[in-house]
Structure formats: C-alpha cells, structure tokens
Amino acid sequence: MEETQPLRFARLLQMVRSMEADLGISALNKSEKVLFTCVGDLCLGTDSAVNLTEILAHVDVKTMPQATVYKCLRDLREKGLLAHVGGRGSGLYRLG
C-alpha cells in the first residue's frame, strides 16, 4: 500500500492523539474519536474524500444517532481535523 503524505500526517496526528488520550488530555470526546478514526479508516491508502453515506454505513458509526454524527462532523471540522470537500451540501469529507 502506498502511503500518501496526507495519510502520513493523519497517522502522525493519530499517534500524537493516542498519547494525549493516555495522558488524559484528549481534546476529543468518544464520538468524535470514533468518527475521526472512521474517516481515517475509509481514507486509508488514498488521498480522496469520503462520502457521508460511506461514513454513516461504517460499522463503528452505524449505531450512532445521526444528529450526533452531524454534530461531531461539524466539531471535527472546527477543530481542523476534518475538512469539507466541495460545496456546503456535497457530503464529502477528508482528513484535515
């Protein structure tokens, strides 16, 4: 699998975040972490964006209330961890 630069950066952030979590200073709540790692999972090996439908269908997100998913997506965007691709209603996300 070829590692792209955004993916390397995302993995570096994930690694740093794992340390934050272990030291008890994580900036993300549980749902945000699930969503962030889910997008990372879906982006694995590619530099492309992830569709909202794919995110909602992900095994870790399926059981999450949709309102929580939307709120977490917004919060992760505000924290700079996810970025919206295309127009406001495109439903496409990539790692920030």
Partner: protein
C-alpha cells in the same frame, strides 16, 4: 518524483535543525548546569524523536535522509577529525539505530512500520525508540572508547539512553502542543 522526495527532505531538514538546536542551544545550557560529559551526551536529546518518527513513517530508506544530516553535524562539530578515525562511524550508528530497532522487531514478526499497521499508537513507537537508544548508546560508547576515561564510560552510556528516551518523550509532548496550537489557529 518531487512528491516522493519531499518527506525525506523534511526529515533531513528537521533532523539537521534539531541537531543544531541541540548542540548550539541545549548543550551549552546543560554544560553550564550539568555533567562534564555534556559535549557527548545530553539529558534531552530531541533529534532521537526525528530518527524514530522518520523511520516509522518512511521505512528503512529514512536512513539515507538522516545520514547526511548526521555527517554534516559531525563535520561541523569535529572539523579536525580524520576520515580514518573510528569516530567517523558515529553518524552511521546514530542514523541506523532506529532502522535496526524496527528491523529487529520485524524479524520477530512484529512489523511496526507505519505502512504495516492500521492503528497509530505512541507506545510501540516509544518502545522502539528505547531499543534504538540502547543500540545507539552501546554503539557510540564503543566508538568513543579511549576518548572518555573508563570511569566515565558507564555514566556516558546511561547519559545517552536517558537523553534519547527523555528527548523522545518530551519531543512528543512538544509535538502534541504544536498540533494543538495549529488546531487552535485553524478554528480562528
């Protein structure tokens, strides 16, 4: 082509910059308040973080990004050293210790390179960093034999290990602070 080289250039740049920071800022500060072998070892050796992260992210080829930086800093610090001196091998040991540690794990069936794992956790990296530090410490102590009085050798070995491990840990803390700072700026 350029995209493929860029991460290696970044690793080289970060490694070289941290070495300069280490030798021209942190070492003099430690020499003022610390041990008498500070010219060789530091209590917080931050370049070790780059060694471990570069090899984790780029694989064994990261050695070729780290080696030129190690050679440059070695020649800057010891311009009088002859090519035939045993200490000319120091850059090879320093640049190669993390690769050796990762490869040792791989040989035992635990491949911890970024490309081989799905989860990114700091703990296996820290373990690799500690083992790389042991390899580096033993290697450098052997190469510096004769330049350090025997009673100081053990002290030096311990200094290397403590420096690398603390440098790795606090380097990760600095990285954490930096990512938080960047996130903070992104929300403004």
């Amino acid at each position: 082509m350029i995209t493929k080289i860029t991460p290696f250039l970044i690793a080289f740049g970060c490694y070289l910059a941290l070495h300069f920071l280490q030798f021209f800022v942190i070492f003099p500060l430690e020499a003022k308040y610390g041990s008498n072998v500070t010219w060789l070892a530091s209590l917080f050796f931050f370049p070790h973080l780059v060694r471990v992260l570069a090899v984790w992210m780029l694989g064994p080829l990261a050695f070729f990004a780290l080696l030129p930086a190690d050679i440059i800093i070695h020649l800057v610090l010891h311009p009088d050293r002859q090519l035939t001196d045993l200490q000319m091998l120091v850059p090879f040991v320093s640049s190669g210790c993390a690769v050796i540690a990762f490869e040792l794990f791989k040989l035992t069936g635990v491949d911890l390179y970024l490309s081989a794992t799905k989860a990114s956790n700091w703990r296996p990296l820290f373990l690799i960093g500690a083992i790389a530090s042991v390899i580096n410490s033993v290697g450098l102590s052997v190469l510096y034999q004769g330049l350090v009085i025997p009673e100081e050798s053990l002290h030096l070995l311990a200094n290397y290990m403590v420096g690398d491990i603390l440098g790795l840990f606090f380097g990760l803390i600095v990285l954490m602070a930096l990512t938080r700072l960047l996130k903070l700026n992104a929300t403004r």
